[in-house]
């Protein structure tokens, strides 16, 4: 509904991704300099100027499937590799964390504070790289420019757009379950106590006014919650006390983070329907992906530096098991774009283009000769 949602979605999900990767790199005892290089590479790709330009253009949100493809590419922007199962788990953690943060934001505008919390932490990861720091500050400036003057109504629309994106996702995350912010049925706990949002009064008061607009009577009623007044407003400047804790790093090296795949939602009918039926949005999504990733400058893997594989699970066997037992309805059906160098990919594409003209048209496409559908078919074959 709001065409200003994508930057917020992308940056916050990206922030969560970095939190998880940072935790796993430490848990897996990856040497400090390698770990720093991975995070630096990913962050500098994320905040690349051309990419940010595309991101900030007013546009609709695309599907989880399309967005997942961008993160796939981002996660492989360095010498680190992730198997499909680990990438699935990473994306689950990212999406559930941001869903939680959006849901619990006191005011719709506070999603901007959550974004700033993520950016503040990201700056912590790259303290020794002034170039990348400058890129992040530049993004900060852009956020302030675009979102600084949006009305409460526009923020409410952004919030609704984000919630529609996260609708029906109920993956259980062990940290959330342990901290009792998520119930065993996958739904988040919405507390009815604590401070009210900044600008809201503690519920329970009825004020009566006369013709002249003067307050003549004040009575109370039992609201049912246990709220208190808000202490102070979070800072929207480049530096400042954000007050809000949502969006700060909740992972530490010692807390393993598991997700539970079973019994997520009883209402699978609508979800499976989405995945099985041919997706008519695919063409628009591919154009979006092409634009967005065209702006991503993936670093060429430097010769002597060996790559390594990061595992989001505690053992390789666990990772393998997760890959085999992932329920059908939660499969992201990723458009598998390998992180090869662009030159190589273009040659491969050209070769397949040549092959494509001879082979049969795929059955799914409704408009068989449009460019987007050809691209879709080709990508499935890569």
């Amino acid at each position: 509904m709001s065409v200003r949602t994508l930057p917020l979605l992308f940056l916050n999900l990206g922030g969560e991704m970095l939190y998880v990767l940072d935790q796993r790199l430490r848990a897996q005892n990856i040497p400090g300099d390698k770990a720093r290089k991975v995070l630096n590479d990913i962050i500098s790709t994320m905040f690349n100027r051309k990419f940010m330009e595309e991101l900030f253009k007013p546009q609709e949100l695309y599907s989880k499937k399309a967005l997942r493809t961008v993160y796939d590419r981002l996660a492989h922007a360095s010498i680190m590799r992730l198997n499909q199962a680990s990438m699935d788990k990473l994306y689950d953690l990212m999406t559930m964390a941001f869903k939680y943060q959006v849901l619990l934001c006191p005011r719709p505008k506070d999603v901007l504070l959550v974004t700033f919390n993520h950016l503040d932490s990201i700056k912590g990861f790259i303290q020794d790289s002034p170039t990348i720091l400058h890129q992040v500050d530049e993004t900060f400036r852009q956020l302030t420019e675009i979102y600084g003057n949006l009305s409460a109504g526009e923020f409410q629309m952004i919030r609704q757009t984000l919630l529609i994106f996260f609708q029906d996702l109920h993956i259980r995350v062990s940290t959330f379950l342990k901290d009792k912010v998520q119930n065993s049925n996958g739904r988040f706990v919405l507390p009815v106590s604590g401070p009210v949002p900044w600008g809201t009064e503690v519920p329970g008061v009825i004020r009566i006014f006369n013709d002249k607009g003067e307050e003549v009577k004040k009575t109370g009623f039992k609201h049912g919650g246990n709220y208190v007044a808000a202490q102070k407003e979070g800072a929207f400047e480049l530096y400042g006390d954000r007050v809000l804790k949502l969006g700060t790093n909740m992972y530490s090296a010692n807390r393993p983070v598991e997700t539970h795949m079973s019994a997520t939602s009883k209402n699978l009918a609508s979800k499976t329907q989405e995945n099985i039926a041919p997706n008519p949005l695919a063409k628009e999504e591919l154009n979006f992906l092409a634009r967005l990733m065209g702006g991503m400058e993936i670093k060429k893997t430097s010769g002597p530096e060996p790559g390594f594989r990061l595992n989001l699970f505690t053992t390789d066997e666990e990772e393998e098991h997760a890959a085999l037992s992932r329920p059908e309805e939660l499969s992201y059906e990723v458009i598998n774009i390998q992180a090869t160098q662009d030159q190589q990919r273009n040659e491969e594409l050209a070769r397949i283009m040549g092959e494509f003209e001879i082979t049969e048209q795929p059955e799914i496409t409704e408009q068989s000769t449009s460019k987007g559908d050809d691209l879709l078919a080709m990508m499935d074959r890569l």
Partner: protein, 334 residues
């Protein structure tokens, strides 16, 4: 006191929109009809008095081959003198159906006018006023459609200007003691309220300024405007003068829906803070000022509510929907 009744299951969960529940109960029949927006589809279902679901239908807005259906913003029944129509508002379009959703009788494509690229076109806010159906739009303009007693000859009669930000909700009430005249209140994203008198031409009677907070839901009863705001406040204004009579710190999060039981003057407020409250409105016979009393509060645990309606005109029962919830929760008084 109210107690939980049996829930009605939904095919798809409710979307995080405001006013995301419409209820139709026709006096002649025992059946109750419910309408809920899921996202790109809306679900219409009918149930027997006990809550047993009988028939259900899913509606979508089709805009072309190979293009995915746009998001629906609201679904609402409009009860007119000679017929009942089901209206669906979405991005880019307004669609009107026979009351059971079986047949589309009219559709209207939204005009982009002078929209910038940073604006999405959508319609939101639906109400019936005598033989008109009024629908709000993203620009703040309200479209007034003239509805014939039967058939598909629906015509866009007028476009009302009075708001500068997207319309959130519209409410109407037959003007007291006058046939063929109704009052209407429209609300928008900046909290501005406009009170209109309808007739062959709509006239703006009063304009109530906002205070920097959206007004997602509004109701009209016996010359009183009840408005629910983004900061959890419910305010009651006199519809003729626009004067503020009552201000309630009712909720800790934005209000998502208000509804009225006109026979008794009960007001229902539901918000994203998981609470539903019921209030009794009245007018002091001497001073004419509006008075309010809190009747009941209900907490729907861990559910960000998005729709709420009374199921009968005397407010003996009500229903609510919540974000991510695939059922309609029902309550009735003991």
């Amino acid at each position: 006191m109210y107690r939980r009744e049996r829930s009605i299951p939904l095919r798809g969960s409710a979307a995080a929109l405001s006013n995301n529940l419409s209820v139709l109960q026709l006096p002649a029949s025992d059946l109750m009809h419910f309408g809920v927006v899921h996202g790109p589809s809306a679900q219409i279902l009918s149930s027997a008095p006990g809550g047993m679901p009988l028939a259900q239908r899913q509606l979508q807005v089709k805009v072309g081959v190979g293009v995915s259906p746009p998001l629906i913003t609201q679904v609402h029944w409009c009860v007119l003198p000679f017929r009942v129509l089901l209206v669906l508002t979405s991005h880019r379009r307004i669609q009107m159906y026979e009351s059971d959703g079986s047949l589309m009788v009219y559709w209207h494509a939204l005009d982009s006018g002078d929209a910038s690229s940073a604006q999405t076109l959508f319609a939101r806010g639906i109400a019936a006023s005598v033989h008109f159906i009024c629908v709000g739009t993203w620009s703040g303009r309200i479209l007034v459609f003239d509805i014939p007693a039967k058939g598909t000859n629906i015509v866009l009669n007028e476009e009302l200007a009075g708001h500068q930000t997207p319309i959130t909700d519209i409410a109407t009430e037959r003007a007291q003691g006058q046939d063929g005249v109704a009052d209407m209140v429209t609300a928008d994203d900046s909290g501005v309220l406009c009170v209109w008198r309808s007739g062959t031409v709509f006239t703006l009677l009063t304009r109530i300024p906002g205070f920097g907070v959206p007004c997602p839901s509004v109701q009209l009863w016996q010359g009183m405007v009840a408005a629910g705001y983004g900061n959890g406040q419910v305010r009651l204004y006199d519809a003729t003068t626009g004067a503020l009579h009552v201000q309630i710190s009712a909720h800790a999060r934005t209000i998502c829906a208000l509804d009225l039981a006109p026979e008794v003057g009960k007001l229902l407020s539901a918000a994203e803070d998981t609470f539903v409250h019921i209030w009794k409105l009245s007018r002091n016979p001497e001073s004419g000022s509006i008075e309010v009393e809190h009747c009941h509060g209900e907490c729907v645990s861990d559910t960000q509510l998005c729709g709420a309606r009374f199921c009968d005109p005397s407010g003996c029962s009500f229903a609510v929907t919540g974000y991510d919830l695939a059922e309609i929760l029902r309550f009735s008084s003991v």
